[in-house]
């Protein structure tokens, strides 16, 4: 378990972290999710000992490591741009931490080969990092971090430099690796899809604060505020109610308290249909329908429809400020 208590950090005039507290449960895969500049990487680097907090404390597995150098924290750290040791082979990269610990050569070879097999780089031991693709380099970096059997694994935007397809593959792969190795993992990302798809626990950060911590479903269905709601998925606003666009249904005739609206545009996006509408007072709204729903309504621009809010009431928020606009 990683416990961060009341950590603050400033860089000159810029406040990177303001009294932040966080618990990362043992064996979990926790994501620190937030926009750039929200302080998530700084928090990760403070946990890893690459930066030191101005105030507050960091405890890893019961040991207070607040002032401890990274060498003595028992962590594995993976960087966005791989930080591969370019002058060393893949084997020597992965074996670096063991060599520093004066592990016998046979033991290093054994462990390196085992890890390279786990990360799917079995035949690449003699290559140099420049001969690997981005995805392979990052898998090598993961093997290197795991080689020293860290108590916690810290990943700083590990897939951020990779193209979309490789990123999706590595996400899945990391998820499976975590199920096998089960080391407590904290991953920094700005990609909400990435966080939702692989993490079992997510801390959403904004503006030097943690806004909400919870499971993916909890955060999506019960957002604590408009920032979390907007960062985790699309949001539509009907009067002062914030609602997921798939929780808006369209009716062909008035019913209950449904509101009249005019269709301005219909976009077919594969499995979903996006309908842009205008309410009576001129406010624009958009709704997500399934293909079947859209087909039944036979919508086209100019049509008049009636708009009703469906779905879970707790998934809605009353707009409290204008922060949502900044996100959208």
């Amino acid at each position: 378990m990683i416990t961060v208590t009341n950590v603050s950090k400033r860089f000159g005039d810029f406040t990177a972290l303001d009294d932040v507290s966080l618990e990362v449960p043992d064996g979990s895969l926790t994501a620190l999710l937030g926009p750039s500049g929200s302080g998530k990487s700084t928090l990760l680097r403070i946990i890893g000992g690459l930066e030191f907090a101005d105030s507050g404390s960091v405890v890893i597995h019961g040991e207070d490591v607040t002032g401890v150098v990274p060498q003595k924290r028992g962590i594995g750290f993976v960087f966005q741009h791989y930080a591969a040791f370019k002058h060393m082979t893949v084997h020597d990269n992965v074996g670096f931490g063991l060599k520093i610990r004066k592990t016998p050569k046979e033991r290093i070879d054994e462990r390196v080969n085992e890890l390279l097999k786990i990360v799917g780089l079995g035949g690449f031991a003699k290559r140099y990092p420049s001969q690997l693709s981005g995805g392979q380099r990052q898998r090598m970096a993961l093997a290197r971090a795991l080689a020293v059997e860290p108590r916690v694994l810290l990943l700083d935007e590990p897939f951020g430099a990779l193209d979309a397809k490789v990123r999706a593959e590595l996400r899945e792969w990391l998820r499976r690796l975590h199920e096998e190795v089960h080391v407590t993992t904290l991953l920094v990302t700005h990609d909400q899809e990435e966080a939702l798809s692989i993490a079992d626990n997510i801390a959403v950060m904004d503006n030097a604060h943690i806004e909400q911590v919870g499971g993916p479903r909890e955060l999506y269905d019960r957002p604590a505020n408009s920032f979390v709601m907007g960062f985790l998925g699309p949001v539509a606003q009907v009067d002062d109610t914030l609602v997921r666009p798939h929780d808006i249904s369209l009716l062909s005739r008035p019913e209950g308290d449904a509101r009249e609206a005019q269709v301005t545009r219909v976009s077919h996006l594969g499995f979903e249909v996006r309908v842009e509408l205008q309410l009576g007072d001129g406010q624009p709204v958009f709704a997500q329908l399934t293909r079947t729903e859209a087909a039944q309504l036979e919508l086209s621009a100019g049509d008049i429809v009636w708009l009703a809010l469906t779905g879970d009431r707790d998934a809605r928020l009353v707009s409290e400020d204008d922060r949502l606009d900044a996100v959208a």
Partner: protein
């Protein structure tokens, strides 16, 4: 297409007239009377003493400036301390100041009538020549290494520290291998400049043949004082040869390490 050829011709002619032809003429004059005459001219006691003195100076100056250069480059690229801007400027000072001024300044400081009142036997002997050469070659390693340090960034070093490497281990195993090409170029330039230093040495070196006469001073003495033009050409060729050998050695070392 024709402009490109024209530009290339201009560049090549410029290089040829200013560099290649004059140097080639020295080479030609050196071996005009055959290799034996050249060999005899560069193995006189004064010549041998000059060659070994020049090489001794290089052997002392290079390690000093490599260590100083690495420490300074690390401070400039990684550090954040008051007076960093001043250090940046001071490192370049030897480029800006004429070597003759360096010589005069050394005498003012170390000489018999200087601040230290001649307490140390520096002027007109090896220490003075080393000091002068250290001064004029100070910027090379720093200026070659600093941009490489900035380019490689700190991620590899941070990764090494999270894997348990101490600062010292990180420097030897990660940083130094990453900047070795920059260090290599710095060394080549330092060697070449050390061998070629003349201005500061005319002031602080006694120029006594067989004692305090470096190769450059020998070339000058033979040419101006002794009117021994052939001797001057031969010594000049040795000087060029030494610089060339450094360059080739460094290139070979680099290739072998990359392989």
């Amino acid at each position: 297409m024709s402009t490109r050829i024209a530009l290339r011709s201009v560049a090549l002619t410029y290089l040829g007239v200013l560099v290649v032809v004059p140097l080639a003429m020295i080479f030609y004059r050196t071996f005009e009377d055959g290799f034996v005459a050249f060999f005899e001219s560069v193995t006189t006691p004064a010549a041998i003493s000059a060659i070994s003195l020049s090489l001794t100076i290089v052997a002392i100056v290079v390690p000093l400036n490599v260590v100083f250069g690495l420490v300074t480059a690390l401070a400039l690229a990684r550090g954040n301390f008051p007076g960093k801007g001043l250090l940046q400027a001071v490192v370049d000072l030897p480029f800006a100041v004429s070597p003759v001024i360096v010589g005069v300044a050394l005498i003012l400081f170390w000489g018999n009538d200087g601040w230290l009142g001649g307490a140390f036997p520096v002027i007109f002997s090896l220490p003075g020549m080393v000091l002068a050469t250290v001064f004029v070659t100070l910027p090379f390693v720093v200026r070659e290494v600093e941009p490489v340090l900035r380019e490689i960034g700190t991620e590899q070093e941070e990764a090494a520290s999270t894997l348990g490497a101490s600062r010292w281990q990180t420097f030897w195993r990660i940083t130094l291998p990453a900047i070795r090409v920059g260090v290599g170029y710095g060394v080549v330039l330092t060697v070449a400049r050390s061998l070629g230093e003349f201005g500061a040495l005319t002031v602080v070196a006694g120029g006594v043949a067989g004692e305090s006469q470096t190769l450059t001073l020998l070339v000058h003495a033979r040419y101006i004082d002794d009117h021994n033009t052939f001797g001057a050409y031969s010594a000049a060729t040795v000087l060029m040869g030494l610089a060339l050998v450094t360059l080739v050695l460094m290139t070979l070392l680099e290739r072998r390490r990359e392989a």
